[in-house]
Amino acid sequence: MLRLVVQRLLLLIPLLLGLSVLLFAWVRALPGGPVTSMLGERYTPEAAARIEAEMGLDQPVWVQYGKYLARLIEGDLGTSLRTGRPVLEEFLTRFPATIELTLVALVLAIGIGIPLGYVAARRAGSVVDHASVVVSLIGVTVPVFFLAFILKYLFAVELDWFPSAGRQSVTMVATHPTNFYVLDGLLTAEWDAAWDAMMHLVLPGLALSSIPLAIIARMTRAAVSEVQNADYVRTARAKGIKASRLRSDHIIRNAMLPVLTTIGLQVGLLLSGAVLTETVFAFSGIGGFLAEAVFSADYPVLQGFVLLIAVVYALVNLIVDVSYGLIDPRLRRQQ
């Protein structure tokens, strides 16, 4: 197990190096550049040339890449052109927001998706089964931003049950030691702040969970359908095993392997879904910030954030791989 972890961590190095080259080339290949976006209507060729020289953009691309890589190795991801703050600092202050949102979406997707898929498979052809198909179809086909808009219109504007934007009411005075707002409220015993932050997570969390929920429900249904007809389940049943034991140890446990893989992959999907959801709900995580960076050609943020997200994604999948072993003893022995 340890060897697997070390191996996978070492693999990260060439992966990130390759990614840094790709990102660097991609960002440089975009037309225009940060200078045009900084100057806007005030652009003159002279002003642009001055700023380019100041920023080192007039040097050969390989010189620029060399400098970029040298700083990267020192852990310096550069400074955002738009906000004037270090990219790493921007990432770290915003990442907790995205983690909070992603966790809520994941909990909703798993908490609703797995039972739904399980019941649908166990009672194939029933109302629940048909309902699960409809929910999955809606989840996959309705664009996140549209769902977000509808949720907001219904529950924030018309019914006023939930806030329409942000992570916490702007008039709320709260202490933020960790930047995980719900956790902050609990740690500091500022219960109203924690509650307020939770209310702000409901609508974006629901919107973001729609696609993974649909996929997890379908995946669970398919896996359970297959497992429940397997020989070993029939044998177990014939041996007169208790229904609850059959469910937990024989069906769910075996059906969870493919579902777990799916969940790992969904994390990546959630991170990209966060771009839209965070923009629509003005939820200041890394997704919304990345979207703004695209619009303002903020090179360092684009490069740095994508690299950091790749690291996060790789680590999440590593955790998923390790957890296979926990569920399936056969795999544990192989490792």
Partner: protein, 549 residues
Amino acid sequence: MRLRAPSRLTGTVALAAALAVALTGCVASEREQGSGEEATGKDTFVFAGSSDPATLDPAFASDGETFRVARQIFEGLVGVEPGTADPAPLLAETWDISEDGLEYTFHLKEGVTFHDDTDFDAEAVCANFERWKNFTGLAATESLSYYYNAVFGGWGEDSKYESCAASEATTAVVTLNAPVPELVAALSLPAFSMQSPTALEEFAADEVQGTEDAPQLTEYGKGHPVGTGPYTFVEWKTGESVTLEAFDGYWGEIADVKRIVFTVIPDGTARRQALEAGDIDGYDLVAPADVDALTEAGFTLHQRPAFNILYLGMNQAAPPLDNIKVRQAIAHAVDREALVQATLPEGTEVATQFVPESVSGYSEDVTTYDYDPEKAKALLAEAGVTNLEIEFNYPTDVSRPYMPDPAAYFEAISADLEEVGITVKATAAPWNPTYLDTIQGGAGHGLHLLGWTGDYNDTYNFIGTFFGAASNEWGFDNAEIFQVIDEARNAPVEEQEAAYKEANEALMDFLPGLPIASPVPSLAVAPGVEGYPISPVQDEVYSVITFTE
């Protein structure tokens, strides 16, 4: 190891719960006693911007979101007459300008202090002027101190600013080495706000760090702005909000707004929904399509007097646009009246020249180009052009105050052009960076849509920006035009207005492009917010706002 799934889950939940209980209260709350309750809406004004301010130090900024915040914290020597773009006394009560336009004597308001108790006096004024001049390195670039460079023509030895003397505590004498005719008007910009010399030094406001790839915010710019304005800085949560609080020692009146929160909502639809949901008290740049719906729903819509211009540019480097008859034909072919009616906010009028009506050099006597398709066809025939095909560039993914919906104007204009036999080759591109780069970075474009929002009441700020020198955008090199604009800029104060009128008339004869309109931007506030100080140059300080319930 054979754990049953349910017990594992139960165990985890129990552990998490135990951990949460154990950790609770571990971190001390930083709330002040008694402020645990959510502040009531009555004394707090929540305004949604589209992004964070770029910095809290307005000397290093040139964008609307930064200035919106800076106007509450800072004041300049010169302000503007409410509701207009005209300069008015603020921290300087009066000023005298020497005959040669090189010496400005500012007589300062007495009894004003900065938020940190530093006295506002002539020494402080001089400290600010000296600070701007002596920017070095990254601070002395257009990406930071854009306006200082634009007004004073450079930093250090290159600056038109020479020196400043505090002859008395309340008299500051600013000496220039070359005239800056628009100086008084320009000083009303937040970029020239008076900042506390003590705080500037304490928080190293001028030490702009960073590698060559981007300047970093200074400590001062991140969280220590100190001015003389009605509100003091409390907190900036990046990506979320900036909070300000009423300044006890303010020299003027502060009505109902004791606390201001600028919240960041990048998406336009999200801003509207936030207002409808009651989460915010107001937002700027309401989409024209939302104006009626919001008004009907009981929100107050303020129309900001237009201080901008939208035009159809014609690139003379792309023949036959270098032919005046072709340009005239295009001008007569476009039904601007219908375009404004159909696509621009209510109250917008067709433009006759490259400055809005409220600017002093606006002329009533410019050549006008009425909608007349027959005349357009005749002019094209005269020019000897047949089967004319012109490239028409327009931006997507953008809404500027002067250009809320570019695609709509493109459609209206191309329909009109097709009507007189011109074939339009449409080239749409994302505003940033492709569109701007196409228009400004090279010669490969034909017709295009662009515009400008004025900074202060000065004709040069418009026509100088467009036509002050040869550029890729317009593709012409007409010494006469450059000269007439330059002469107007440097004319003695009393002759300046007439000279600018002349320049505007010359421009409309030369017709480098077709001015379309000065669209009226709208701002929406919640019911119960009274007296929003709407201003053409966005000099909007919230101390005058009152709440009615």
